[in-house]
Amino acid sequence: MTEQLTQRSTSTGFTPPTRFAVPGRIAVSNRAASVWQTATLTEIRRETPHAATFRFAVPDWEGHLPGQHLMLRLTAQDGYVAQRHYSIASAPDDPGHIELTLDHVEGGEVSGWFHTVAEPGDQVALRGPLSGFFAWPGDRPALLVGAGSGVVPLMSMVRHHRARGLAVPLRLLVSARSPEELIYAREFGAETRPLFTRRAPQGVPVGRMAAAHVAPLLDEQPPGGWEAYVCGSNAFAEHASRLLVEAGQPVDRIRIERFG
């Protein structure tokens, strides 16, 4: 279902005379990005006290790659429109369906609607998948680093890796405030190391992501090295990307998706 997402092998465009920024991983479908589709909510699953997963039926969904996002639109009676970008949480092998995991943002008009009003059967508009930059086709070893709901696009990669039984190495370092706030806690396996910044289970230290967490992952890096994917708030992304660079990860092999 991802045949139309052909991989871009080399960039043919302008090459800057400076060090090359991480190129897009795939070519994206312009048609998918420009067409609004109707998505019908089919299921709501609570993940944590502040986050829930929303499952949609999207009959004409073209398919996506792990890490891609979409734009979602809600429309009020008077024509007022609110649109937001959200990362896709589900793996690609789920024809006609996608899942989003949304934090309930304080005062958020869109996440507020999802968490307090939405019910199965409700319809919203969306367009996508968008952007090939943060996509992971499952080809290269992946080092995933996320915090809070920044784990969402990374979970799509973990699920894809598992569903396809991929042999390429994949590791996830994920930070949450507490065990209760750790999204997808029950789904993680040996590939994942959770960190807790406020409160941890007994015997597990509490603290911010540090060099000591990142260094072992770079010490055990596979042949050809890691492709690093970082997702979270800007403060987390700045912190985590700096740790990766200091631990020796090449700067042009770090892809960052920041909230905003």
Binding site: R8, G13, F14, P16, P17, T18, R19, A21, V22, P23, G24, V28, S29, N30, R31, A33, S34, T38, M71, L74, T75, A76, Q77, D78, G79, Y80, V81, A82, Q83, R84, H85, E109, W113, V117, A118, D122, Q123, V124, A125, L130, S131, G132, F133, F134, N234, A237, E238, S241, R242, L244, V245, V251, D252, I254, R255, I256, E257, R258, F259, G260
Partner: protein, 201 residues
């Protein structure tokens, strides 16, 4: 129009400065760069204009600051749908730099590139006539690294991914050449008033 059941949205504001589909981010200024924020000191910053110009030229920090200053006071609009009002940027108008290098008549577009290697394409007409700057100050302070400091391109009438952070130069061309996000499905021009977010909009 498909109305979303039970969706009211935030309080309506009558704001003629808000392009369609955008909301006012208030005091927030989200950061959305896709790469690692570079450690770039002003002393290491340079800005180059080349391509279809008579006299290609590179400016360093001091040479750029010796040019007559120019400010932009107004709004900025991000494709992720936030807008930010009443910003004040200080720097030098791009017209001032272009006067020095003298673009050829055949130049129609430019690729702006960053010290990180980020690129974005723009029609030359969007970069001239007092609508584009090289900016190093924001609200009276040096531009923060995460917002593109020491200096960024500023083209506030287009979506903000066109305003390349950590600007290193512009190459003038006689054709359009998609940049980083444009190769990733984003619109070639990015006019927020026409909601040109993605290719095909």
């Amino acid at each position: 129009m498909n109305v979303t059941r039970g969706f009211t949205g935030r309080a309506r504001v009558d704001n003629p400065g808000l392009p369609p589909g955008q909301y006012d981010a208030g005091d927030d200024w989200p950061v959305l760069s896709a790469e690692v924020t570079p450690e770039l000191a002003p002393a290491d910053w340079t800005f180059r204009l080349d391509g279809l110009v008579e006299r290609p030229r590179t400016w360093d920090w001091e040479q750029a600051h010796a040019l007559p200053g120019s400010a932009y006071e107004g709004d900025i609009h991000c494709v992720t749908s936030w807008s930010k009002f009443g910003m004040r940027f200080g720097g030098v108008s791009l017209d001032t730099f272009l006067e020095v290098v003298r673009p050829h008549e055949s130049a129609t577009h430019a690729v702006a590139y960053s010290h990180t290697g980020y690129t974005t394409n723009l029609p030359l007409a969007d970069l001239t006539g007092g609508r584009a700057w090289i900016a190093w100050e924001c609200d009276g302070r040096p531009l923060a690294p995460e917002h593109g400091g020491p200096a960024r391109l500023l083209v506030p009438h287009l979506y903000f991914w066109k305003s390349a952070k950590w600007i290193a130069g512009l190459t003038l061309l006689d054709h359009d050449e998609p940049g980083f996000w444009e190769q990733n499905g984003y619109h070639a021009r990015g006019n927020p008033w026409q909601e040109q977010r993605y290719s095909g909009d």
